[in-house]
Each structure stands twice: as C-alpha cells, then as structure tokens.
C-alpha cells in the first residue's frame, strides 16, 4: 500500500506539473503552425500569471465579501488578455513592422519576466506581515475538486483530484487538435505556416491568420501562468524564476509533441514524470540528481534529431517556421 501511495503521489504531481506546460505548449503549437516562432512563451506565461494575481488581489482587497465566481472570471480574463496583449505586441513587431521573430520573442521573455517579478515583488511588499501575497478566495475556487468522484479510491484520486483547470487544459488541447486538422480555418492556418506565398495566392489573409494564431496562442499559454499561480503555488507569488524554466520546457514540449496538440497531452505528463521522478528514485545523490534533471531536454533533442532524420513529411516543423512573409519580397 505504501508503494501504491508513493506511485499515486508521483503521478498526481506529474499531472499537476504537466498541466502548466501543456497550456504553454498547445498555445505555442497554434502559433507555430501559423509560422510564427514565438520564443516569448516564458514571458507571456509570466504576464498571464502576474495579471491574474494583480486583478484578483485588488478585487479581494476592495470588496468586503468577494464572490468566488467573479474572482474566477477576473483571473481568467486578466490572464488571457494580458498574455494575448503580449502576443499582440509580438505580432505587431514581427508581422507589421517586420522585426526578427527570434529576437522579438527573446525580448518579450525578458520584458515579461521583468514585469511579473517586479510587480510580484511589489505585491508581496504591499501585503506586509509575512511578505507574501495570498489570494485565498480565488485560489480556493481554482483548487476546488470534484466532490464524491475525488474520494473514489485510487482511481478517483488519480483522475479527479485536481483543480478544474487541469481538465480545461485537456479540453483545449483536444479542441486545438480538432481545429487544426478538421476545420477549414485550421487548414488555412496550417497553409499559412507551411507556405505563406501560396496561401496568399489562394486568397487567405496571411496577416490576419498570423495575428490571430499568435494572440490566441499566447492567450492560452497565459492560462498556464494562471494555473501556476492559482493552483500550483496556491495563490502566492515568489520571485524565483521557476516560470521561465517552465516556459522553455513548454517550448521543448512543442517539439516533443511534433507539433500535435494531442501528443502534448501525454507529453506534458511524461515531462512532469521526468521532472518529479527524482523524489521517488532511491539512491540519487545531489550530483546525479542534477544529471537526471537533464532528461526532458535530452529526450527533446533526440526527438528533434529523429524527426529531421526520418524525414517523414507529416512530422516536420512547419516549413515557414520563423520566416517573415512580405508579399513584396517574393
């Protein structure tokens, strides 16, 4: 029974961890499928996290009896909109002003981490006392578990003992998979990412698709930041740079999932497993632990190499990934 519990705990923490990067990865897949390589994912996850925290902090502070439902709505809206605004800035610079995508993305990451940690530090200062902000009402809403089902023994604990954003992440991933592969707009979006010139000739509005894909994609990634602050760290903030590493892990997951949202679901949990497994592997010293933590990245590199190696057409990165498209410069 002891072993069973340990395994259960490991799986639970993997799923919680995986959810954060699943949001980031699914958002980035949508963006990359339209041909925009947005390396600002860590930055927009930061923006989503801090905005939701600031939003509900002021609501909870100024209202005598905060309504849980309103709390959740404010948090979600703030996270999605702030991250999407980051995406809009990225799109404006790279699509309209034709700045380089890699450089703009990295700048967005620097900016986002600066804004989030700066205001996070201020908030922790405001809250006085322990020096750590806590938005209890809201985080309770996000951590609410499904009654009855989550008590149903091991299976119930494994499947139903999480805050509801865990299921939202899966739903968004499945919807994105369906959207990209089964709808006309999804097909257009992929065409824009594969060959924008051809898509343009076919009458698809390349600029519009790229703007929308990037803004919606970053908005979804911002929800990863929301889940992180509200559920994973229980409505608190710490300036420890964890989110930046999570953001890069999300970028890695995009490759691991070979640009398919449905693969990102199990890939995210696998990354979570690799991240937490060290706690449960006996005999790991601190040194070997650090080497062990390389695994997600090494595995990603291997996947990247193999996909380029095998040259299966459906497994390749979008053909125009990272390339700007200007009709005049064909």
């Amino acid at each position: 029974m002891g072993n069973m519990n340990t395994l259960l705990q490991l799986l639970q923490s993997s799923i919680a961890f995986g959810t954060i990067i699943m949001f980031g990865a699914v958002g980035e897949i949508i963006t990359e499928k339209a041909g925009n390589l947005n390396l600002g994912i860590p930055g927009v996850m930061y923006l989503g996290a801090i905005s939701s925290l600031v939003g509900v902090f002021f609501y909870e502070k100024n209202v005598a009896d905060p309504n849980p439902f309103v709390c959740a709505v404010i948090a979600i809206l703030c996270a999605f909109l702030a991250a999407a605004l980051g995406g809009l800035l990225f799109s404006f610079l790279t699509i309209t002003l034709r700045a380089n995508q890699n450089v703009t993305g990295l700048t967005l990451t620097i900016f986002g981490s600066g804004v989030a940690n700066f205001f996070g530090g201020l908030l922790n200062g405001f809250s006085g006392g322990v020096g750590q902000i806590r938005v209890e009402t809201t985080s309770k809403v996000f951590m609410a578990k499904i009654p009855f089902l989550s008590d149903l023994g091991v299976v119930g604990k494994l499947l139903f003992s999480y805050g509801w954003l865990v299921y939202v992440a899966i739903i968004i991933a499945i919807l994105s998979q369906w959207f990209l592969n089964k709808t006309r707009s999804g097909l257009n979006l992929r065409a824009v990412g594969e060959n924008p010139a051809t898509a343009d000739a076919a009458g698809i509005n390349v600029t519009l698709y790229r703007y929308l894909a990037t803004c919606i994609g970053t908005g979804i990634a911002g929800l990863g930041g929301l889940y992180y602050v509200m559920d994973y760290t229980k409505g608190t903030w710490a300036n420890d740079g964890t989110m930046e590493n999570l953001g890069w892990l999300a970028v890695a997951l995009v490759i691991f999932a070979i640009w398919r949202p449905k693969n990102a679901i199990w890939g995210a949990y696998l990354f979570g497993l690799l991240f937490w497994a060290y706690l449960y592997i006996p005999g790991l010293t601190r040194k070997s632990l650090e080497l062990f933590n390389m695994l997600p990245y090494v595995v990603t590199i291997i996947v990247l190499v193999f996909t380029s190696f095998r040259k299966k057409r459906e497994n390749q990165p979008p053909n125009a990934l990272g390339l700007a498209y200007f009709r005049e410069e064909r």
Partner: protein
C-alpha cells in the same frame, strides 16, 4: 490593359523597401527611438514612485558611472564594473556574429558560455600548481574546446539533416545548466553552501592579472583583440566571404562551388569557441567562481546585441554599453527608491521593443495613397 471590374481601392499605406538611407538619418531614427523609449519608461517610473524622471535618469547615470561628487573621477570602481560587463556581453555577441551572418540561429550561447566556464573552473581547481603561463594556455584551450564541442552537435545535424538549429541550440542551454549544477555540487565549497565559492582566493591562481594596476584591463584587452579579429575575419577573409554567401542564399553558395556543410560546421565551431571563451573571461576575469548564473541570461541578451548591430562588431560595442548601462542604472534606481532589481529587465525590454520597431523605419518606407501619382 482591360479594366478589372472588381478593382479594389488602393490601400491607404503601401510599404516598400528602401534602397539605402543616409547614415545620419538611420542614426537619427535609432536615437529617436531610444529617446522615445526613455520617455515611456520615465512615465512608468513616475507613476510608480512619483519622482521627477530627470532625477531618476541622473541616478541611472550615477549607477553606471559612479556618484557625482566634487572629487569625481570618471574611471572609478562603478565605471570599471560597467566596462567589465560591457566587455563580457560584447565578447558573446562577437562570438554569435559569424553564426548569425550565416543565418544560423545560434540561440545556445548561454550553454556555450557555461561549458566554457566549467572548463575554465576545472583548470583553476585541478591545475593550479602549473606555472601561470601554462595554466592560462590550458584554461583558454579548454574553454575554446568546450564551447566548440557544445555547438558542434547542432552544427553537424544542421549540416547533414537540416535539423532546426534554433530549437536544438535552445535545448542545449538547459543541458548545460544542469551540467553546471552538477559541477557546482561536485566542487561545492564550503560543504553544504551549494556554491563553489571564490576559487583560489589565496594564491589567485588562474585569475586575470591586473594590467597597469587595473583589475579589469585584461578583460578589455582580450575582448578587444577578439572584436577586431572577428571584424577582419568577417570582412576581409575568404572564409568570411563564404559565410556571407551562405547566409544570403545556400543555393547560390552551392552553385558557386562552396562546400556549404563545411562552412556551416566550421563557422559554428568558431562561434561556439568564442562563446566558450567568454565563459573563460567571466570565470577567470570577473567572478572567479562558477554557478548557473555565470551566464545569467547574457547569452540571450547578446543575441539581441548581435542582431541589432547587423553583425558589425564595432557597433556591438555601443549596443552592449547601452544595455549594460540600462541594467546598472535600473538596479541603482531599484536600490535608491526601494523597488526590486527586476525593474531593470522591464526597462530593458521596453527599450529593446522600441529599437526593434525602429528598424522598420530604417529599412522600409511607407507610401501614402494621397501622395501617389504617375507610374506604378
């Protein structure tokens, strides 16, 4: 030509590439963008702390170049630290220049710096009994090799199978960070501190020696040699020419008989080696220790420096100085007005957004509909 019935109205603005722009104009646009960015930052800072922005900018200058007292000397300790950090950033950017000129997105500088730093620290720890000259040769060679090795892998796969180098080098950074954590645990001193501590604090084996009594003069000398060398290499050597041809069009290069694979691998080896060497400068010439913060995001910032400078290594000096100045200045504001250090990243981000945006106005011109007449 027959008129097309469904002729759409001409759009309000058309965008066309500029052929060229006088130097003074392009400089003016960039300076204006920085001024505009500083105004925006000033407004934000004013809203946060209600202090006159000019006062704030004065503190920024003081943060980077020392407090203006009566006995002010320009070359004070703060100025030297600004110079030291500028040289570090410059060294990485110079390392990235050949790869970027070849349109090979080496995002892996962060990792290449770290492995170069690990190699340097290893020499300082295990070979400190060697005579100083020999020790320095070992450190330089080890850091060059480590950086080159770290970039070799993505280069080979790019050359042979066209593996996406942006994503590959990005992943290599995190492998390097974990590797650094491993060595920090291995060399931990004192035990339990989770840091390596200052290496060789007594004998200063493997530390950059002071030149003319100045602690960081050696950093300037080493980095300036690399900067000038790289400028000449890119501009006047045959290999530098091959790099720019491959960067412009791989097909043209192949047609002209250039061995593209060889150029890719060779250039990435050089790029990685110099980034590794900047790890040597960071460890031996500045911090005298190694940690996961040895690179501290400079590998990413340097990408922006190299890109904005259009691969011109001398322009990189100015941009590096600007970014280090902003960083030091913002940290000074943070400590003076009781904010936190992250205000530096926020300000840097805003200014970089403006500079990136301004490039558009340097490279393109907008043609408004009303002005349009005659041909085209």
């Amino acid at each position: 030509m027959a008129k097309v019935a469904t002729h759409k109205r001409e759009p309000l603005v058309r965008i066309a590439k500029r052929d060229s722009m006088p130097l003074w104009q392009s400089v003016l646009i960039r300076v204006l963008s920085i001024v505009l960015a500083l105004v925006v930052c000033g407004v934000i800072i004013y809203m946060l702390i209600k202090v006159n922005p000019l006062e704030v900018y004065k503190s920024m200058v003081e943060g980077a170049f020392g407090a203006f007292r009566e006995d002010y000397k320009f070359f004070n300790r703060r100025t030297w630290i600004t110079i030291r950090d500028t040289m570090m950033l410059l060294c990485i950017a110079v390392g990235l220049a050949p790869a970027f000129k070849m349109r090979f997105w080496n995002i892996g500088a962060e990792g290449q710096i770290l492995v170069g730093g690990i190699a340097t620290a290893a020499c300082m720890i295990y070979l400190k009994t060697l005579p100083p000259v020999l020790l320095f040769v070992c450190m330089i060679v080890a850091s060059l090799l480590a950086g080159a090795l770290w970039s070799l892998l993505p280069a080979i796969f790019k050359a042979k199978w066209n593996t996406n180098e942006t994503l590959f080098t990005l992943m290599m950074n995190y492998v390097a960070i974990q590797l650094t954590s491993f060595f920090v645990a291995l060399w931990e001193n004192p035990f339990g501190s989770n840091t390596v501590g200052i290496i060789n604090p007594q004998g200063k084996e493997g530390w950059f020696p002071p030149v003319f009594g100045l602690d960081y003069m050696m950093n300037v000398i080493v980095v300036m040699i690399i900067t000038i060398g790289m400028f000449i290499y890119l501009k006047y050597s045959k290999q530098g020419y091959e790099i720019s041809v491959v960067g412009d069009s791989e097909n043209t290069a192949r047609y002209a008989g250039i061995n593209v694979k060889k150029v890719i691998i060779r250039t990435m080896l050089i790029s990685g080696a110099i980034c590794g060497l900047s790890g040597f400068v960071a460890v031996s010439g500045a911090s005298h220790t190694i940690s996961v913060n040895t690179a501290g995001g400079k590998g990413f910032t340097a990408i922006i420096v190299a890109w904005l400078a259009k691969f011109n290594t001398f322009t990189m000096i100015l941009i590096s100085l600007l970014l280090v100045f902003l960083d030091k200045g913002a940290i000074e504001i943070a400590s003076k007005y009781d904010l936190n250090d992250y205000v530096a990243s926020m300000i840097t981000g805003i200014i970089l957004f403006f500079i990136l945006g301004s490039e558009f106005f340097v490279n393109y011109r907008m043609i408004f509909r009303s002005k349009e007449k005659g041909v085209q």
